[in-house]
Symmetry: C2
Subunit: 214 residues, 2 copies
């Protein structure tokens, strides 16, 4: 029954706010949707953020993942949203931080941990993790911080950790019931614990991720 649209990023280089996924959002919400609940917790200025969302006539969820998840817990919304989406079929759309909190946990966010949520467990609308804004390693970089791939590999050194779908900027995952499809213009990279990573092109059927054992 669930319907999810999990977008890597709100803005894509060279285009405007949510432009890159506008058609997808339009068709995702076209079916009977009259009202959209926008959750502005991930940014500090919630009124301004809500205004931007209203102006665009769309829902989204970007900003800081820790702040978003903490506010969802503080307002007792984690289980409520899970119930509404999984049991009552309310469509859920998230971008970046809003995509992270839709998965099992926020363990694979790129954000700075500016606030301390009571748990890294998230809404759990899908049984795997996502890394939004997935970034390929730059062979010319002189910066010595870990690459994104190294960070996800560190996550998979921990026992029992689930798959991580790296969504490059410009792509998104559409989930309808037990069917998951990669949409957009860029590829996604799937990291599985103890296995080589795999690339998927837009249009790929990723439904197997929804049944993957944890």
């Amino acid at each position: 029954m669930r319907r999810l649209l999990l977008v890597s990023n709100s803005t894509l280089y060279g285009s405007g706010y949510l432009d890159h996924c506008e058609e997808n959002i339009r068709s995702f919400f076209s079916r009977d949707v009259k009202r959209v609940l926008f959750v502005p917790y991930a940014l500090h200025d919630r009124d301004e953020y809500a205004k931007i969302a209203r102006n665009k006539f769309q829902s989204l969820g970007g900003g800081n993942t820790f702040r978003l998840l903490k506010c969802l817990y503080d307002n007792k919304l984690v289980t409520e949203i899970r119930k509404r989406v999984l049991e009552e079929g309310v469509p859920y759309m998230g971008s970046s931080a809003g995509t992270n909190v839709a998965t099992i946990s926020i363990n694979t966010t790129n954000d700075m941990p500016i606030v301390f949520p009571p748990s890294f467990s998230a809404i759990g609308l899908v049984p795997f993790n996502i890394n939004p804004h997935y970034l390929d390693t730059d062979p010319n970089s002189r910066h010595m911080g870990e690459t994104r791939e190294q960070r996800i590999t560190q996550f998979h050194e921990e026992p029992g950790t689930p798959c991580v779908l790296g969504l490059r900027e410009g792509c998104m995952l559409l989930v309808e019931g037990d069917k998951a499809t990669l949409l957009g213009t860029t590829k996604a990279r799937l990291f599985m614990r103890g296995q080589p990573s795999v690339e998927y092109s837009p249009g790929s059927d990723l439904s197997f991720l929804l049944t993957a054992a944890q």
Copy 2:
């Protein structure tokens, strides 16, 4: 009484492991130090990590900040290390993750939150936060993830948050009692809540940070 050497990064582009701060480490540990306790918690393969440290005859602390802090709590070492360093004058040296955990909190780490520590509060050897591997904004980047400056600004949107010293790769902070000095070859950038950021060159006296009110 405290003596701290807080290094931004273990490896600098174009040189070997800990080469860039080798002289600083040598002089930091020369005074009466016969044994060094190496804390290998931040990486998964602790034996291999300890071997690298032993081979270099130096102590360090890099890897994943969340993993390091969680292990310090799990082994009840946070208050113990604080006591030994602040009350008994045991020298403390950290690099990257080891630098983050030496400050008030790990709220300004760059690492992925791969494990959930019981708190983001850290050892608290200094009354401010550090962002290691500090990275300037790349005006040519097409990536739309937040810049480091934006992330620290988000941190400072939260009430009561302390100063953040951005240590670029190649620099480090030496603390001796109530005196703090920037060392190395690169500048540091200080972010204060509600004020413009300030650049400091190697050699700068940053002792005022040690008395700053929280």
